[in-house]
């Protein structure tokens, strides 16, 4: 067995994105939660934006799930969602509520939840 490229420095921990390093400005991430605002769709809404809005009638979806449903790249859904947000037709919520960015318990709760799923 040969090792992989040796001597390569490990990336220092302070460069890690590890879950909490998010910018505070609103940004449409894969896991940003989209929901309809309840406003009815204007007649001039582009078809692609309407398709996204329709997908939100049944409940909230992440950008990611909307992309899977509409069979579009995530980057395209970001553009469509931004259009809906601009016209207040949809609302966006960050994956982790701002107050909980620094919740030290999150990982522990993830571990507990995964353990509870095991069958024995």
């Amino acid at each position: 067995m040969t090792g992989r490229r040796g001597g390569r420095p490990l990336v220092p921990a302070y460069l890690s994105t590890g879950g909490v390093a998010r910018p505070s400005r609103p940004h449409l991430e894969r896991l940003t939660v989209l929901s309809g605002s309840g406003e009815s769709a204007p007649a001039d809404l582009p078809a692609a934006q309407l398709a996204l809005l329709d997908a939100l009638y049944g409940g909230s979806l992440t950008v990611l799930e909307a992309a899977a449903l509409l069979e579009l790249p995530v980057s395209a859904v970001r553009v469509l969602a931004a259009g809906l947000l601009d016209r207040s037709l949809a609302l966006a919520r960050a994956p982790i509520p701002p107050a909980e960015h620094f919740d030290p318990d999150l990982l522990k709760r993830v571990a507990d939840g995964l353990r509870a799923l095991k069958h024995h």
Binding site: V11, S60, L64, L117
Partner: protein, 207 residues
Amino acid sequence: MAYAPSSTTSGSTTGDIHLPDTARELVKILIAGPFGVGKTTLIDSVSEIRPLHTEERLSEASVAVDDLDGVREKSTTTVAIDFGRISLPGGIVLYLFGTPGQERFRALWEDIAYGALGALVLVDSRRIDASFDVLALVEESGLPYAVAFNTFPDAPRHHTEQQLRTALDLAPGTPLVTCDARDADSSLDALLALVQHLIDRDPPEHR
């Protein structure tokens, strides 16, 4: 799949993928590895929704989005990135992303890795070196990770843990577990090894 979701999800058996109303904290873990290593199999074994995928462009061009067909036509080379979802008690929703590790996925990799808790790197015990690229990508992205050895029936069994660690050039603290991606409990154990590693790491000062 077979799990009853732990929260009030109603849609998992009907194919409705809308989020449970209880969803509050959405987190993600990357399931990374080379082609055919078992990424989709692992996600399928633990996901509450049938694994879905998005078609992602490898070369990103800004496009004017007029209608769905217009968007689709402008796609260049694409790769399918699959994902699954697990609702956990307390409103946590964990997403798992099957992430290929070749060098040409670098730009896409960074986008997917953004904000992830960490990565579980799958290694096929018959072709260890196929995972070198993905390990390099994970380390460059700075994501903490654990390694799961996916054991295939015809895999060589003579490796000692130390031989594997040396071959993969793993840091002493990096967890190394074996896993059968087809088995939900085994996949959960591998995920738990990663999450426990994340808990055990010294917490960065500025959290």
